[in-house]
Amino acid sequence: MSEEIIKLNIDGRDVETPKGKSILDAALETGIYIPHLCHHPDLPPIGACRLCVVEVEGIEGLTPSCVTLAADGMVVRTKSEDIDRMRRLALELTLAGHPADCGTCDKYLNCELQSLKQYFSCEDLRVRSRSKLMPLNTANPLFVHDPNKCVVCGRCVRACQELRGVGVLFYTKKGKETLTGTAADLPLADAGCRFCGACAEVCPTGAIQDKEELVKDKKRKNALIPCRYTCPAEIDVPRYVRLINEKNYSAAAAVIREKVPFPGVLGYVCDRPCEDVCRRSEVNEAVSIRELKRFAAEHDEQRVWEESENKKDSTGKKVAVIGSGPSGLTAAYYLANQGHAVTIFESLPFAGGMMRCGIPEYRLPRNVLENEIKDIVNRGVEIKTGIKIDSVDALLEEDFDAAIVAIGTHQGQKLSIPGADGKGVLIGVDFLKDINLGNEVEIGDKIMVLGGGNVAFDCARVARRLGAGQVQLACLESREDMPATDDEISQGEEEGIVVCPARSFTRILSENGDIAGVEFVDVASLSFDEDKNPCIEVVENSEHVLEADTVIFAIGQCPEIPQDFGLDTLPNNLIEIDWFTFSTSKEGVFAAGDAVNGTSSVIKAIASGRKAAAAADRYLGGNGVIDEKLVAAGEPEQCLGLEEGFAFLTRCEESCVPPEERINSFGRVVRDMDEKTATDESKRCLQCDLRMKITTVKFWGNY
């Protein structure tokens, strides 16, 4: 049914508008500005501020245009002396209780009231101005309420009640002043607030604002949807969490796949930077985003992502990817999608890079990785394992049009301390690689792992599983600053790993050719200089020895770049690239992943692979747009409804197999989340992204 169009005349201009619009909306949409304050395009009008009064022929007096429907043949005047007088009085009354110190307000230049003041050139008030002298309320999470700046436009109340259906904000009275707030002034959490931020979004003044520390110097989207925009791959977290809540797991997995080809892997091993910044953690605890991601990936039975075939027609171009780790596989996947013929060369017998030969199986089950690699192969990527590439030039000369170097950082290091070259001193990555490739490794019963990162913990935990009775882990960093993720540390400790932080290793002691122990000194402070070299201050006379028969160095890795690659490298042996084009010093050769970034996380490697793929695609004549639309966006429900106790819903931590059981095998440590837990956990999401759906208000200068 086509909508009925009516014609009216505003200020001598004939205006056409669909039936059912207010005079104000009809005028604004034609570019005729009528001042307004309590009106917001997404909220029902209430006619409270009276700045939008107009004259309508045939209606006596002044009419608030926001609540009056435009009618066919209507003749409207938006300017006259009477109108101006009424509007000015309304504005003066609005300003009477509002502080005049615009210059020092955080909302300066973003304030609708300030803009109206300028529109009316309203400087001195004839009505009596006053200071409310009310305390700033900073006690709530996320938002600051400054009642002094509230002009009672009621937008926050309508946003909370009508738009969100939450209804915890009301008009309230304090002494002679009217304000908005919760019933009985309850803290937002106690009132049942969903912390959606709609109130702050629609507030025209500085009365309700985001806490400064959460938004200052940040881009709006990064500050308001930090999970999504902190994620290196910008996975649309709120969207897939919402889909999980709607029990649409396949669509949730598809949303993850719009940015990464490894939802399952990430569900196990992501270092979840999203959770560190989750706004829910300001309320109580972050949402268990990684757990939800794993749940979605493992319940993707319909595999709806496959139905949206995004693969472009063949371009006839060929790309070689060197290395089949997360960055290489990701780059290959997207390049194949863009229509290029992609071949991955992997020197090891298995594809997966560190995901296969670094991360132990108990952290990442093999079949999860294998299935996701299979999906990539199914997109037309050819993987050649057991082939070591020595020269990129040779590849390009052969018949590849471009190459991506994604060789990771597989070269482990030892510290050059006395005894480091002795028998029984192992290198962490090599140790892990051997184990993961099924080779026999001999270790003793008393293991000392040197290093504080995830690789160190992997080594320690593997050693436990190999039967070592005593596993200790020592590192330079203090307990708080250890680079390993919290779950690695806690799970390691549960498994009996003894962590000895803040120690510098001075030498490895041996007796009769066998290792006897490691000598340490205590670290008083640790810092890094400009070149990221450690500056260690030790505690004098703190030398001590810890017993060990096997020492594993896990103090960092660097890329193993074949000499003939001929790529420029940085002093730390990482491949140098142009950060805008991801190209190396050689034309047509791009690089990605740990080999560029240094040892880092799977998600960072994936993100890096995406960028390199986009860059290579552009180089090959494509548009570089690799994002996929795998599931229709849909309009999320704006109405959240009241959920008592919402703020107090506790986080569901991952559930693990008991430590005494898990050290007996390489079986996976985490257990599956059940559906109810997943639903409950997904419900905890604040749905910060809904705020972006609220229409941005245009200021008068934009008409």
Partner: protein, 552 residues
Amino acid sequence: MNFEQIRARAESECNYLNDEGCAVVRVGASADHPALVDVLNRFQQDIDKCGIKDKVIAAGSSGLYDLEPLVSIEKPGKPAILYRNVTPEAASKLVNDYLSGDNPGSEFALCSIGGDKIEGIPDSSEIPVFELQNRIALRNCGCINPENINEYILRGHGYGGLSRVLQIDRAEAIGELEKSGLRGRGGGGYPAAEKWKICHDTEAGEKYIICNAVDADPQARTARLLMEGDPHSVLEGVLIGAYAVGAGRAFICINSGYKTAIKRLQKALEQMRGCGLLGENILDSNFKCDIEIKEIEASLVSGEETALIRSLENRQAMPYLRTAYPAVSGLEGKPTLINNVETMSHVSAIFQNSAAWYSGIGTEQSRGTKIITFSGNVAHRYTVEIPFGTTLRTIVADIGGGTLDGKNIKAVHFGGPTGCYLAGDSMDISIDYETLSEAGGIMGSGTLEVYDSDTCAVEMARDVMSYLQEQSCGKCVFCREGTYQMLDILNDIAENRGKPEDLDMLLELAEGMKIGSICGLGRTAPLPVLSSIELFRGDYEAHIKEKKCPKK
């Protein structure tokens, strides 16, 4: 049950009313009157002691609070006699002298009602408060047991109006209401039949009816009086309205502080259900309707129609700007007829009697009667019902007894807090919608507050503005800030800090508030200030120019 069956049952259950050997003692007082229980008990005890079978009934208040407990004793074959301020001791004396004996004389006797004149006791026609009232809405208040539906049915043809209306079609019923000339008693005086017609004519699957029993103006006691004293006169009106507009659900929005009224209302609804007056097939017709009670936390805005709807929707009770009449789109967007208790009691009276009878009372434009409650500096605390057209003088001087201390009247604040002041020298003004409107005032809640000649107009206005500022819901700028600014200015003037331009600002604010506020409260909030400046500008000027209060 049909109406005849209900009536027959009522007659058999209330046999005391026709019992030749049984006198009826009705103790009338507000439910919270401190002496009520003792007086009731004393009557009963002493009657039992004497071995007589006279019936003692707890009636509601008649509105004549100063005279309570106001006891009516009706002996078979004799006119009823009213006794005022009856104490337990007086009750004993009355049982002894009049019920057991035959001596009606008592220092407590106020008057007799109808019948032969009794020696030493004036007839009610000699007493202004009875003679000058015409009790239609309050017809049963103080006269019946509000907890017994049978008394309502038997006195004055209760539910006969409903029975009759169910036999005519809806349009005809609305036509009859139109003929009566009834105007809504909610304050604005909108013609009731017109509202009904709009609601009737709006097509909808479901319609609602809301009866406003909030007494948003705390000085008004109309809802309390009716709900405590005679809930059925209102409930019958509600059912008649529901039938006429086609509503199947009715809500009584009652002040949550009125505990006794709520209890009696609940009881009334139970008894109605027992008589087949609620639910399906009311009075054996195919009309069905249910009535629910909604308790409302009272404030000045809570009784405003749109705020009432919000309350019923379990939202904050705040007015909103109507884009359509509630009769077209009200509760949950459905056509909703909203009338207040007083209107509903008139409705039942009109249908029990006739439109012609009703339209013969009052003035040309304001038909019928109006409930008025006195407050302030007035001799009697009463709620009375007078025909429209009665002069202010008659109401205040003759019924109210003038000022407490006999001083001259400076002003009467009429229509509730947002009403205007009427000067003491214009007491001949007729109380009806048109005249009040011409005087710049409103009928409002029908309360009147009397000020004597020692009162300063600035303080008068300041005090009422202080109340209005507090009661403003704060939603719209003109009411919220207008009352705030006005109060500030009036405080300054009252404390001799005022400037001449303050008066101009008051007038400018008043004009803004009148047209710029969302609801009736805000639009009428400046009226007391405007009228006090107009009538008593001298008081303002004394404060501003001479820096002193003219009354001190």
